[in-house]
């Protein structure tokens, strides 16, 4: 798989890390992100990840490129790359919008 599977908004070589202002909780089998420096507007909010979202979140370790994560997913799960990229793009945008993750680097060299 190569960069072409990602849309323009996603850089396959990008590396993301979890932001320390979010705590991951497992509550009754649900993966929840709790913001610990919340604003008044989000005082009552928590963020619930589905199974795909939780697995993606767990792989955002500040070392793996998006491309690596996608490749690992395709091996581990029976899922089409199109659906996977659609989910990842949505999730990545959502996580970035609430500052739950931050881009730490863009890997050099070939991505796929």
């Amino acid at each position: 798989m190569g960069d072409l599977l990602f849309s323009c908004s996603m850089n396959a070589a990008a590396i993301y890390a979890k932001h320390p202002d979010y705590v991951q909780r497992d509550v009754a089998g649900e993966c929840i992100l709790v913001p610990i420096r919340r604003s008044l507007a989000e005082a009552n909010s928590i963020y619930v990840l589905n199974e795909t979202g939780a697995a993606f979140w767990n792989r955002l370790d500040g070392r793996q490129r998006l491309q690596d994560i996608t490749t690992a997913f395709c091996i581990e799960y029976d899922v089409t790359t199109e659906q996977l990229h659609q989910d990842f793009e949505t999730l990545l945008a959502d996580l970035l919008s609430i500052h739950a993750i931050e881009e730490v680097a863009v890997a050099d060299g070939p991505t796929g």
């Binding site: 705590v23 909780r25 509550v27 420096r37 928590i46 589905n50």
Partner: protein
């Protein structure tokens, strides 16, 4: 959707330890006349309270068990020298933390720490609007000024806040003024309590300040919100008790109990694990409002608001 924003969890098991109210101390700098814990606000009892180490260990076990909402109360929780150590540990473990406080110990530095790691909500008892009424209830000279200062410091930092008072003979003439004051503050919640309870040692002292039903009706009729709420309460059967299903209480000595109002039985968390206490012992604790006939009617609900 891979991720959704919610203000509550759905599909929780019927029995799951979601919400904990934890009375981390009975110590308090005030001596409110209707307080049910002040009888244990004595050195001999305070010496028996949970240590920092015990509290953090139990808290970690609760986090591992999936507890999400944690209410730290007292006594006055902020009077513990280790309060912020406990509070910040709870926030960093991902609990949604609510703090019940009298507000008088909220300094600039304390407000800054709340602002740095924000609570789900802080609830402050405001039992009187004038100094005279407030301090007749709290029996603490200067407490009125310090409480209002604490409220201002939290508002300045946009910390979610609820102000609440208990209707009594001593403050009945200021209840509506307190509500108007809270409304004037903007995004601040308001709660009016009408129930007094026995002291923890069995004393009935608080009931001498109770309002008659007739007085409460007259009071509630003067405000649309209060009247609507009281009519709703009159017209509906009290819901079946769900204590011990998704809610539970821990006292200052580490006893796991069904709720703050039912301490007849407890499981000693200093001696055993939280998991064992919640799943093996709590279900067998008695509650007069929880019967087997009601069990089929129970439906899990949780509301963070």
């Amino acid at each position: 959707m891979p991720m959704v924003r919610r203000d509550r969890l759905h599909h929780l098991p019927e029995r799951f330890p979601v919400f904990c109210q934890w009375e981390i101390t009975c110590r308090c700098n005030l001596h409110c006349v209707m307080c049910y814990t002040d009888c244990f606000n004595r050195p001999d009892f305070i010496r028996e309270e949970l240590t920092t180490h015990d509290i953090l260990r139990i808290m970690n076990e609760m986090a591992d068990a999936g507890t999400l909402e944690l209410c730290l109360t007292g006594g006055e929780p902020m009077i513990r020298p280790d309060f912020f150590h406990i509070y910040e540990h709870a926030i960093r473990r991902g609990f949604l933390v609510t703090v019940f406080t009298n507000g008088t110990l909220i300094s600039e530095a304390a407000a800054d720490r709340f602002a740095a790691l924000r609570p789900h909500r802080i609830e402050i008892s405001l039992h009187g609007l004038t100094r005279e009424t407030f301090e007749r209830i709290t029996q603490g000279p200067g407490s009125h000024h310090r409480c209002l200062d604490g409220i201002r410091l939290l508002l300045d930092r946009q910390i979610p806040l609820t102000l609440k008072c208990t209707a009594m003979t001593l403050n009945q003439h200021e209840i509506l003024a307190i509500k108007r004051y809270v409304t004037s503050l903007g995004m601040v919640g308001y709660k009016l309590g009408e129930d007094l309870r026995h002291e923890l040692d069995g004393g009935a002292g608080p009931f001498q300040y109770a309002l008659s039903n007739q007085t409460l009706v007259v009071l509630n009729r003067q405000d649309d919100d209060l009247w609507e709420e009281s009519c709703h309460q009159d017209q509906t059967e009290p819901p079946p008790c769900r204590s011990g299903m998704q809610r539970f209480h821990i006292d200052a000595y580490g006893m796991l109990q069904l709720c703050s109002g039912n301490r007849h039985q407890g499981y000693d968390l200093r001696q055993g694990s939280f998991e064992e206490g919640f799943y093996q012992h709590l279900p067998s604790f008695a509650c007069r409002r929880k019967t087997s006939a009601m069990k089929s009617l129970l439906h899990p609900t949780m509301n963070h608001a």
